[in-house]
């Protein structure tokens, strides 16, 4: 089945220690998204890639970076995690065609704990 895969499902890191979360997809979609979701809140878009074009949300902290080396993979790097970065991180994909965004599909998420 075509899907969005996230690894690891649970990640524990120490305050200030860099961490990388990964996302892969078999849907061959041209857009990949990273969201942050804190308890009892809606997912919040951090940034997205349209092919190799990076689009950052205005309020995404500089502490968050992303890489998309190819169509299938996208990484979220948190350079110096703080306690406030503990959250669920969701990856999603969609196919953009002629200015229209197709249905968005989400991975299972990575739950990040910062000690």
């Amino acid at each position: 089945d075509a899907m969005v895969i996230q690894n690891p499902r649970y990640q524990v890191t120490q305050f200030g220690k860099p961490v990388t979360l990964s996302c892969s997809q078999t849907l061959n979609h041209n857009v990949m998204y990273w969201y942050q979701q804190k308890s009892s809140q809606a997912p919040k878009l951090l940034f997205h890639y349209y092919d190799k074009d990076f689009n950052n949300e205005a309020d995404t902290p500089d502490n968050f970076q992303s890489r998309r080396p190819n169509t299938s993979f996208c990484f979220l790097d948190i350079r110096s995690p703080g306690l406030g970065d503990a959250a669920m991180y969701l990856c999603a994909t969609s196919q953009q065609r002629s200015g229209a965004m197709g249905e968005q599909f989400f991975g299972p998420g990575t739950r990040l704990t910062v000690l």
Binding site: H48, L90, G99, P108
Partner: protein
């Protein structure tokens, strides 16, 4: 930006009951999705529905784009329906790239 409002914020039902969840949005949108977030945090796609009505088993959804709202109907609720239901709209003004704007969700609890 666009405002997406969901109601009610919380809903508690007994198994077998029916319910209606509402999503209002403040501007014209290109598309609308309904998701169910299960207790493990995964967002499950329920409907991709810019307008009209769709049905999938016990669930159905109706979007009236001209009046800027969508409804999600759950019939004969089961305990496995518990979780958070999100409405999200595809809205882009001044940009060619679509993105989703989420409502705050409806927390549904179904008791046996």
């Amino acid at each position: 930006g666009i405002q997406v409002e969901q109601s009610p914020p919380d809903l508690i039902l007994q198994e077998g009951a029916n319910s209606t969840l509402r999503c209002n949005f403040s501007d014209s949108v290109n598309n609308l999705q309904w998701f169910h977030q299960n207790p493990w945090g995964q967002l499950i796609n329920l409907f991709y529905i810019p307008s009209g009505t769709k049905q999938n088993g016990r669930l159905s959804a109706t979007t009236v784009a001209t009046e800027r709202y969508s409804l999600l109907y759950i019939s004969s609720s089961q305990t496995t329906d518990s979780g958070v239901y999100f409405c999200a709209v595809d809205y882009h003004r001044g940009s060619t790239l679509g993105r989703l704007y989420f409502g705050r969700g409806t927390q549904l609890t179904v008791w046996p």
